[in-house]
């Protein structure tokens, strides 16, 4: 069993080796962090193939930029920031695409009676989060699951703090309605 300090030292060694071009060391960093990175990507972009693409892109960008990692935060935190940025970029580009082609997805709104579960149905919380509107979902994931503050979210999404709070409130209300809580 490694202590927290040993883990940090070992990780620092892996980062130094990866920065000098050692792909085995970078693979070890990938194995340690892929679960957390994929979780945030999947929850923001929602579909599996896209989440896999974004996750791959996160690690490719991390490989590109690892030389600039200064160790002022944990490596996992640094990686997590890249994951959030790329996931939000992917989400925005998808929203732009959908606004151009005018898909019918708007009809399948969160509150649509056809989408509601009967009381007997076991409601999956992850599924309910996936069906939130994109902006509310991103803010909910960042605040309530990933622990970001409203100020950080507002900066990241280029909205005012009040918008972040309002969207979070909206997301919680919608989820509670589905979960009947």
């Amino acid at each position: 069993m490694h202590s927290a300090a040993e883990t940090v030292i070992e990780e620092r060694d892996l980062i130094v080796r990866a920065a000098s071009g050692d792909t085995r060391a970078f693979e070890a960093l990938y194995r340690r962090n892929v679960g957390r990175v994929y979780a945030v990507c999947l929850r923001i972009v929602t579909d599996v193939p896209r989440a896999e693409d974004v996750t791959q892109e996160v690690f490719v960008q991390a490989w590109e930029k690892i030389g600039s990692f200064r160790g002022e935060s944990l490596f996992s935190t640094w990686l997590h920031r890249i994951a959030v940025n790329l996931s939000l970029t992917s989400l925005r580009s998808r929203q732009r695409y959908e606004s151009r082609v005018e898909t019918n997805e708007e009809i399948e709104t969160f509150d649509s009676p056809a989408e509601r579960h009967s009381p007997e149905t076991v409601i999956d919380l992850e599924d309910a989060i996936r069906r939130l509107p994109p902006s509310a979902r991103a803010i909910f994931v960042l605040h309530d699951i990933e622990g970001y503050r409203h100020e950080e979210i507002a900066e990241q999404l280029e909205v005012v703090v009040g918008t972040s709070k309002a969207q979070l409130h909206r997301a919680r209300r919608m989820l509670r309605k589905v979960l009947e809580l």
Binding site: A5, Y30, Y38, A39, E52, V60, W63, E72, L74, R172
Partner: protein, 393 residues
């Protein structure tokens, strides 16, 4: 039934963003209004479900081979193309498509060459303008208070400037004062060595290698940060003294305001009148108030840094009085099983938990309940105007 419900404010209770008097009003209202009480319980149940979501999800397939292929086939710094589309159709159609793509590449290459030449000219002009109008590098003002402090290897006269990356050092007969932009001051005691890591409108950061500093900062939380060999002191708006010894251990004493002592995912919130010790490889210990009994302090030290376990805890708890609630609340995160139950019982005896916090929930590590209790103890620097912990009845 109450005429005025407070349903819209319950989110703020959960997030701990209310002032004490607002919180007290809401807690009182909840005890009198069944509808709001029911809503509050449902909201807590919902937040518990969210907290229980996994932080990690493994992708359905191993993505490493794709990542490895991309990072080994192109040198660092190249532009990376995202996976492309697969084309369908006959062989002739595919050949025609390839020809079209190749012609397009030639056309684009000529255009790229012209664009690159224009861009290069623009960059050279911009660089020249930037160089000629270069502002002074960001720095902190240093003032000698006693003796001859040094910046790098140079002895400081009456005043000087500390730039990013510079080392400031006092010997056993010198003292110095740093002016931290417009947000505050840091005084260095004799035999102190620190380095300026960054200064910008959003981040003022230094590393304290050894010695003692007195920081006085008036700024939004998390703007002023001091890194030590064993933890990072994040200013939440305060005046404090921080000492680092030759082995890298540090001791923090907060005079007013709040400091968050952080390391490796462990965070200790240290309010005014409290102290906190950190050790390399271990991180921050449990904060304790400056006026606590010496028996309490030494037992806490054994628990945090000498693997004192249950024996140390059995010495801590009988010594605790209501103002020591700050230490006991932090201990709820450092104990499990029977030890945690003992800490809960003592803390509940000293400062009864607020509405919505149960023994079972706290023992099981319910984050919302721990947060509610923290707010009740006035231990949330983001939620309230800081008050002495001694004010707890």
């Amino acid at each position: 039934m109450n005429e005025h419900h407070i349903l819209d404010l319950l989110d703020n209770v959960i997030e701990g963003t209310l002032k004490p008097e607002q919180r007290q009003f809401i807690e009182l209202h909840i005890t009198q209004c069944p509808e709001c009480k029911s809503e509050f319980d449902r909201l807590n149940a919902f937040m518990s479900k969210i907290d229980a979501l996994p932080k990690e999800i493994q992708p359905p397939r191993d993505l490493w081979s794709g990542i490895e292929k991309r990072i080994t086939t192109q040198p660092r710094g190249t532009i990376i193309e995202l996976p492309g589309h697969q084309y369908e159709g006959s062989v002739e159609q595919q050949k025609a498509m390839r020809r079209e793509i190749q012609q397009g590449i030639v056309r684009r290459s000529v255009w790229y060459f012209r664009a690159a030449a224009v861009a290069l000219l623009f960059i050279i002009s911009a660089a020249l303008y930037w160089y000629l109008t270069l502002p002074e590098l960001p720095s902190w003002q240093v003032t000698t208070l006693e003796g001859k402090p040094k910046i790098g290897s140079e002895l400081l006269a009456a005043t000087g400037k500390l730039y990013i990356g510079d080392l400031l050092e006092t010997d056993n007969a010198s003292r110095a004062k740093l002016t931290v932009g417009k947000i505050g001051e840091v005084e260095l005691e004799p035999n102190t060595k620190l380095r300026l890591l960054n200064t910008s409108p959003t981040d003022h950061r230094l590393s304290l290698d050894r010695g003692t500093i007195h920081a006085s900062v008036s700024a939004p939380p998390r703007l002023f940060v001091v890194e030590t060999p064993s933890a990072t002191a994040v200013d939440l708006g305060c005046v404090y003294t921080l000492t680092v010894d030759s082995l890298g251990a540090s001791k923090l004493y907060v005079i007013t305001g709040w400091v968050s002592f952080e390391h490796g995912g462990i965070e200790s919130i240290v309010p005014q009148g409290a102290e906190c010790i950190t050790k390399p490889g271990i991180g921050p210990g449990t904060p304790f108030r400056n006026q606590c009994s010496s028996a309490f302090e030494s037992a806490l030290y054994r628990f945090d840094f000498e693997r004192g376990g249950s024996a140390a805890l059995d010495s801590i708890l009988p010594e605790a009085v209501p103002p020591d609630a700050i230490s006991l609340w932090h201990l709820l995160y450092k104990t499990t099983g029977q030890e945690k139950e003992k800490v809960y019982d003592k803390l509940a005896f000293l400062v009864p938990p607020p509405l919505g916090v149960t023994r079972e929930g706290v023992i099981q590590g319910d984050k919302n309940m721990l947060k509610l209790w923290k707010n009740h103890l006035n231990l949330n620097p983001y939620a309230i105007v800081p008050e002495p912990v001694d004010a707890v009845p």
